[in-house]
Subunit: 494 residues, 2 copies
C-alpha cells in the first residue's frame, strides 16, 4: 500500500519532470526571445510544485512503512532510491533554500556581466555570499547523511563518491599528468615536425554537417525514433528518455567541433534512451549520477570517437557527406591535438583532468573554510603554475571566474568530469578483455557488441547501485586510474 | 486576502497551462515519433493537477469571500471570471467526467479508424454513447448555470451566447444564403467565361513560401520577438501569449492555401499577443471565447486577406518572394472562388455558414432528444439538399462523420465559427465608419490604424465582457447578420 503511494508520487513527479525537461529544451531551441520571462515564471512555479510534492511530510511515513513491508527486490531497490532522493531534498529547510537560491541567482547574473570584463573585485562579494551558503549547506547535508561535509555535497551528484577514495586517485593522476603532459607535447611536436598539421579550412555547409552528425549518431546507436538533433548556443543533451533532445553548434569553417560535440551528447543520449522503461517513473530508473553519465558521453567521444580504428570507418562517411578526403593520421593529428590552456572547457583529454583536480582541491578548502574566497586568485594561480606552468593572476576571467559552477552554487560537481573519463577508460579496458576484436568491429562501423555490453552492464542498471558499486560490478575492478593512465600513454605517449 | 489566494491560484494554474500549451505545440512540431506515449501520460497527469487545482473546494470559499470584499474594478472583474470558470469546471462530478472522457476517447479513436471507410454502422454505437453523455452533461450544466441545456453547453465556449438570440440570426442568414449561393455561383461563372482562371501551377519552394508567410505575418502586426512560425500536419495557433506558436502546411505546387492559412492563424496570434499582460494569470486576461477568437482570425484572413485592396500591396510582396507576377483580378478569382461542397473545412466564406447552421440545428435536436443518433444520416442529408442541393446519404464520411467535434463530445462549439465571421464583418463595418480611408491604408500595407482599433476595442478587453456585450461595445451594434450579408453581397454579388 505504501509502495503504491510512492509509485503514484513517482508518476506525478515524472509528469512535472517531463514538462520541465521539454520546456528547457524548447527554451534553448525554439522559444521566441520575448518568451523568456513568462517561461522562467512558469518553470519556477512547476519546480515549486515538484519541490512541494517531493518534500511532503507524508512521504516520510510512506517510506517508513514501505521499508518495513516485504517487497519484491526491484520495489525494495525503488524504495531505497526514493529514500535517498527524499533525504537529499528535505535536508535543507525551505526557507534556507529560498534565500540560497536568491543569492545564487544574483551571483550568476553578476558573473555573466563581470566575467567578460574580468572584474574579480566586483564579483567577489557575491561569490563570498554563495560560498557562505555552500558551507552551511554542506554542514546541513552532513547532518542529514552522516557524511563529511564535502562528501555530503558530492553525494547529490554521485551517490557513494567519497573524498577518502577519490583524493588518492586524483593525487596519483595529478603526479602522473604533471610529468606526462610535457612528454606528450614533445612527442606531438616531433610528430608535427615530420608531418605538419593539415589545416581544416574550407567550407563545411551547416546542412551537410548536420547530415553527417545524424549519420554518425544513428551508426553508434542513437534511436532516431526517440530523439532528435537540433541547434543551440550551448550544446546539451536534454529531453526525456523517450524523446532525447541533443543539440550542437556549427561553425562553417570546420567540422570537427560540431561532430565531436554531437558524439559526446550522443553518449549521454544512449544512456537515457536505454534506461529500463519499467522503472522510468521511479528515481531507481534514472541514470546513476553525473560521473556515470559523463563516462557514457566520454566513452563515445573519446574511447570510440578518438579511437584510430573508429576513423577507418568514419572517414569514408565524412567524405560522403562533406566531399572531402582525409587520411587517418591527418585527422588523428587534429582529434588527438594536445595543448596547455587556461580554459577547462577547451581542454583536451590529457590536460583536462588537471583543470578538474585543481578545482577539486580548491573546493574542499573553500567548503572546510581553510581557503577564503578573496584568496582564490592566488590559490588558483599557484596550482595552475604547478600543474600546467601557466599563470592566471592577471586574467581572473581565465581563472576562478571561468566556470558557472561556483556562482551557481554547484560545489562537489567538478570531480564527476574526470571520474567520467576514468570510468570510461575502465569500461573500455573491460570490453577489450572480453572482446579482443573490438577495434576491428569499430573499424567496420559495428557498434552492436560494444553497445550490448554497455546496455547489460551500465544502462540497464540505472540507479540500482552506488557509483563505485556500479563501476566495480560493470568493469570487474574498483575505481582506479590505471586504465585511464594506460589509455593516455597509449594514445599520447612517445 | 481572498483575492490574493485567487491570484496565487491563477499563477499556479498559469504555469500548468503554459506547460500544457508548449508541450502540445512541441508534440505537433518537434516531438520524436516514439515520444508520444510518455508525452500523453505526462500531459494527462498535468491536466489532472490542473483539474484538481481548479476544482478545489476551498476555491468556493475564496470566491464567496472575495465577492463580499470591496475590490478595485479589475479585481472585481477578475473574481467574476474566476467564478465563471469555477462553475464551468465544477458543475460535472469528477466521476462523470472520467466516464465521459473514456467514452469520448474511444469514440474519437474509432472515428479515426472508421471515417476513411465511411463505416457509419460501426461508428454509430460509440457516437450514441457520446451523445448520451452530452445530454446528461447539458442537463448538469443547465442545473449549475440556470440556463437551458444547449445554452449551457455554448456558455463554455462563448459566455453569453444564447439560442434565443442566435437562432433567429442564423435563420435569417440561412434563408439569405440559400438564395445567394446560386446567384454568386452564376455571377462567378459569367465572370470566368470572360476571363478564365489563371492556373496556380508551378514550383513554389517551401523555404520561399515560408519567407513570404513570415513577411506577411510581420506586416499585419505579428510580433516576431514573441512568437514563431513552423510546420505541422494540422495548422494551429498555440503556445502562450508571450510566445505564440503558429503552424502551417506547405504544398509546393501552390502557395495560396499556406498563405491564407498563415494569415488566419496570424489573426488568432494577434489576439493572444495583445491581451493585457497585467491580467495574464487570471481567467479575466484570456481571450473572450471561441467566437471572438474566430472573429480575429477571420478578420485577418477574410476582411483583410481577401480584400481587393490588400492585394494591391500584397502582390509585389508575393512577386518579391516567389518571383511570379500576378494581376489583382487574377488572384482575386482564386481567393474569392465559391463552390458548393460537402466538407465544411474546405468551404469558402459564402457556403461555410450553411455547413455550420446545419450542425447548429441538428445539435440542438440531438441534445434535446428530438433526434436520435441513428437518424443523423437522414437529418443531415435532408438539410444538405435544402441548403446546398447536395446529398450525403451514400457517403457518411462526407456527412455526419466528417468532423471530430461530435466524437470528441464538443457540442455547442460549431456556432462559434459562423459567429466569428459575422462579428468580423461587424468589426470591419465599424472600422470603415470610423476610418473611411481604411482601404487605402491597407492598399499601401499600413495596418497600424486597423490594429490600433482592434487593440482598443477587442484585444485589450480580454474577458471583461460577455461575447454579446463585447460585440456591442466594440462595434456599436448588437450582434446582427446584416453586416456580414452586405459583405458577401459586395464581394460575391452580381
Ligand atoms: Zn557531458
Ligand atoms: Zn481559426
Amino acid at each position: 500500500m505504501s509502495f503504491q503511494k510512492l509509485d503514484e508520487l513517482g508518476r506525478s513527479l515524472g509528469a512535472l519532470e517531463h514538462a520541465l525537461a521539454i520546456l528547457a529544451a524548447d527554451e534553448a531551441t525554439q522559444m521566441a526571445v520575448g518568451g523568456g520571462e513568462a517561461r522562467a515564471e512558469a518553470m519556477s512555479a512547476l519546480a515549486g510544485m515538484h519541490h512541494r510534492q517531493t518534500t511532503a511530510p507524508e512521504i516520510a511515513d510512506w517510506l517508513d512503512a514501505a521499508e518495513n513491508e516485504t517487497l519484491e527486490p526491484d520495489h525494495a531497490a525503488a524504495v531505497r532510491e526514493f529514500r535517498r532522493e527524499y533525504t537529499n531534498r528535505t535536508c535543507l529547510p525551505t526557507e534556507f533554500v529560498e534565500r540560497q537560491m536568491r543569492t545564487r541567482m544574483r551571483c550568476e547574473q553578476l558573473w555573466r556581466d563581470l566575467r567578460p570584463k574580468g572584474d574579480w573585485t566586483g564579483f567577489l562579494p557575491a561569490l563570498e555570499g554563495v560560498i557562505e551558503f555552500a558551507r552551511e549547506e554542506a554542514a546541513l547535508r552532513a547532518d542529514a547523511t552522516g557524511l563529511p561535509p564535502y562528501d555530503a555535497m558530492m553525494e547529490q551528484f554521485d551517490p557513494g563518491n567519497r573524498v577518502a577514495e577519490i583524493a588518492p586517485l586524483f593525487a596519483e593522476l595529478k603526479s602522473f599528468l604533471v610529468d606526462f603532459v610535457p612528454n606528450a607535447l614533445e612527442t606531438q611536436q616531433n610528430r608535427l615536425k615530420k608531418t605538419p598539421l593539415r589545416p581544416l579550412s574550407g567550407a563545411y555547409p551547416v546542412e551537410k554537417q548536420r547530415e553527417l552528425g545524424l549519420a554518425m549518431m544513428a551508426a553508434v546507436g542513437f534511436d532516431v525514433t526517440r530523439g532528435s538533433l537540433s541547434v543551440s548556443h550551448h550544446p546539451f543533451c536534454g529531453g526525456v528518455p523517450t524523446d532525447v533532445r541533443i543539440t550542437t553548434r556549427y561553425r562553417s569553417n570546420e567540422f570537427l567541433s560540431a561532430l565531436m560535440g554531437t558524439l559526446h551528447e550522443t553518449g549521454h543520449a544512449l544512456y537515457e534512451q536505454n534506461l529500463p522503461t519499467e522503472w522510468a517513473h521511479w528515481p531507481l530508473g534514472k541514470a546513476r549520477g553525473m560521473a556515470m553519465h559523463e563516462s557514457q558521453s566520454l566513452f563515445v567521444e573519446k574511447q570510440i570517437g578518438r579511437n584510430p580504428a573508429f576513423w577507418e570507418w568514419a572517414l569514408p562517411v565524412v567524405e560522403k557527406h562533406l566531399g572531402e578526403r582525409w587520411e587517418r593520421d591527418e585527422i588523428l593529428a587534429h582529434v588527438h591535438y594536445v595543448e596547455r590552456g587556461l580554459i577547462r572547457v577547451d581542454a583536451d583529454e590529457v590536460t583536462y583532468p588537471l583543470h578538474v583536480i585543481l578545482r577539486f582541491e580548491i573546493e574542499q578548502e573553500l567548503i572546510d573554510g581553510s581557503l577564503a574566497a578573496k584568496d582564490l586568485p592566488e590559490a588558483w594561480d599557484a596550482r595552475m603554475r604547478d600543474f600546467l606552468g601557466l599563470s592566471t593572476m592577471d586574467t581572473p576571467q581565465d581563472g576562478p571566474m571561468q566556470d558557472v559552477h561556483w556562482p551557481s552554487g554547484a560545489f562537489g560537481y567538478f570531480p564527476s568530469y574526470t571520474l567520467g573519463a576514468v570510468i570510461a577508460a575502465q569500461q573500455w579496458a573491460a570490453i577489450e578483455r572480453e572482446m579482443p576484436d573490438v577495434n576491428q568491429q569499430i573499424a567496420r562501423g559495428d557498434f552492436e557488441a560494444v553497445n550490448a555490453w554497455r546496455r547489460k552492464h551500465v544502462w540497464s542498471q540505472a540507479s540500482l547501485w552506488t557509483t563505485p558499486e556500479l563501476v566495480e560490478r560493470s568493469t570487474g575492478e574498483p575505481l582506479n586510474v590505471a586504465r585511464f593512465r594506460r589509455h593516455l600513454e597509449k594514445r599520447y605517449g612517445a
